[in-house]
Structures are given as C-alpha cells and as structure tokens.
Amino acid sequence: MRKFAFAESGEGFVPPSTADFNLPPIFGDNEFTTKPIFLVLFSVVLISVFFIIASRKASVVPSKLQFAGESVYAFVRNGIGQEIIGHEFMRFVPFLFSLFTFIITNNVFGIVPLLQFPTMSHVAFPYVLALISFGVFHYVGIKKHGLGKYLKGIAFMPGVPKAVYILLTPIEIATFFLVRPLTLSLRLFANMFAGHLLLLVFILGGEHMLSGAIGVKLIAPFAFAFGIGMTFFEFMVQCLQAYIFTLLTALFIAGALADEH
C-alpha cells in the first residue's frame, strides 16, 4: 500500500496517515478477511492455547510454563481483582483476566515482527470492550442495589447539600453513562493508533530517506534507530494500556458494588 502511495504521489514523501490503518482484505472483497480481524481471532487462539497448556497440569509445584501463566493470572487476580474489588472479586476474575490478556496480546501484536499491527488501533475493538465493561458494571450495580436505588445513587450522590445537585447530577449522569465508556475505549484506541503512527513515521521516513540524496541517506540509520527505540517505548505503552483498561473496569465494578457511589 505504501508503494502505491509513493507511485501516486511521485517524488515527495507522503507521511503516514489514517489511511494506513485501512488495510485491504487479504482475500476476496470481504470485510471479514482483513488483517485486524485475523489478528483478533489469532489472539483468541493464542491466548486460549497458551493458558490451557499452562494450566492443564496445574500443580502445587508449578512447571516453568505453569509459573509463567500463573504469574499473569495472579497479577490480574490479586493485583487488580482482589486489590480493587475486595471480597466479591472472584466472580469477576475470569472477566478481568480475559480483558487483560485480550488487550495486551492484541496491543503487543503492534510490535511483533510480521504481524506488526495493533488491533486496538481499530476503534471497533475498544468500543466493543468498553461496551462490555459498561454493561458489566451497570448490570452488577443494578443487580446489587435494584434499578431505582442504583440510579438514585448515581444521580443524587448522598451526603451532598441539595443545591449542589443542580450541578452535580448532570455531571454524574454524564460520567457514568457517557464519559466512562468513551474515555475507556478512546484512551486505548488513541494510544495504539498514535503509537503505530509514530512507528510508521520513523520507519517509513527512514526508508524514504534511503532513496534520497547521499546526505539524507546518512541520516536514515538514525531514523531507524529511533524507530527501534520507539518500539520499546511502544511495548511499555501497550502493556500499560492493557493494565489501565482492566484496572478502570475493576474500579467501575467496585464502585457499582459499593454501598455509596
């Protein structure tokens, strides 16, 4: 696709744009055969197979593989679930665990050679995940407190002077029903999108410089080196974003379960 862009634009460098995220179908003229979709399905297979093998012979003294899988599981279970949700956390561990592994795997696809595309830079996936998270925490809250009491808890925060409700109620309602799912999905999407764009700039820019004049050619390695540096930085961001998404979901669930919102 880049080559195509080059051909079209002739001499000048065309900076990577949102168009670079619209990958054509791998075969057929079908939306369901694009790279992101394959990557998402691949991630499901990858995670499932890895954790099934790691946990299949789970024993008191873990094997190396079990230890690796267990570390991730324990990180989500204790570090996020137990820490934030408290005594009812066990119900949500499978959900949080799936969320974390799903996001981190798809994010890290962004820097895995040959795959090199963070699926979460396609906004549909963060939307879906945020919507599920949104559904889960509201469902949990309604189930625990009843619909009326739950909504009242959100709209009219207890322990606040009545006059403040004029200001607070719209903010709270917007927070719970609009801001939370939107920020949750857009944060993840934007980080992955921007990160991928950044890598594209350095690597495609370097590639373009190689085809330029001799002086420009000499600068090209620096662009590549920076691209490699940014790759490590991206890895950190990818892990962090997966953690933040899971953490916030856990926080929302904990908030919905709490007696006072």
Partner: protein
Amino acid sequence: MSFRISAAGTELNPLVPHTSEIIVGFIAFTLLYLVLRSKVVPMFEKAFAARTEAIQGGMEKAEKAQRDAQVALEQYTAQLSDARGEAQKIREEARVQGAAIIEDLRGKAQEEAARITAAATASIEAERQQAITSLRNEVGSLATELASKIVGEALDDQVRQSRIVDRFLDDLEKSK
C-alpha cells in the same frame, strides 16, 4: 457505518468503527472469556487452593510437632526430676543401711574378739592348772625321792607324801 476500502490514501475517520470488526470483536472476546472461565481459571484456582492448603497443612503440622515436642520435654523433665529424687532417696537409704551394717559388724567383731579372748583366757588357765598340777606332782615326787634319799626314810606313803609337799609349797608361797 462500515467502510469499503476502495483506494489507498483515502482519508477515513478513524473514530468510525467497522461493523465487521464490532461483530468479530464481540464474538472473539466472548469466546476467549468462555474458554478462560471454563478451562483456565478453575485449574489455576485449584492449584492455588492446593498450594494454600499445603502451606497451611505444613504449618499446622509443624505447630503440632512443636507442641508434641514441648509436651515430651515437660514429661522428660518431670521424669528426670522424679529420678533425681529417687536416686537421692536410694542414696540416703544406702547410707543409713551402710552405717547400720558397719555398726552391726563392729558389734559382732567385738563379740567375737571377746569370745576369743575369753576362750584363750580359759584355755590358758586350764593349761596353767594342768601345769601346776603336773609340776606339783613332779616336784613332789622329785622332792620325795630326794628327801628319802637324804632322810632315808621312805616316804612311799601317798598321803604323807602329799601332805609334806603341800606344806612345802605353802611355805614357799608364804615366803614370797
């Protein structure tokens, strides 16, 4: 909502999701959730529970062992002090018995010594009497023989002879 990718370079709003991706994303995540919930989480939880149990069991076992050891130690200490008391008592008894035995033996030995001394005294006395008797006879007969030789008078008569000898001896004693 969905976008057909017609030509590269087309600017598309990245905030507009693809319908296909929404569907696939939802299915994929649900699938992953179901797999992890049914296959992975229970196995890990089982391992965690087993580990917790193993650690707790081990700790309880250790505590029990410690308690047992404490009880045994107390028992041994009690037995030891009992044994010490016993030994002390036995020693005391032995000392008393020993003293009694020594006293007894000493008494017996003194008795024996007294008996032996008495026997010896008696036998000496008897021998002395015998010696006196035999000496008296001898001296008598010698004296008589000598006197008869000197006097010429036969002092054969037994009665007379002994009277003379007695008188002689009496004189002898008196002169002492």
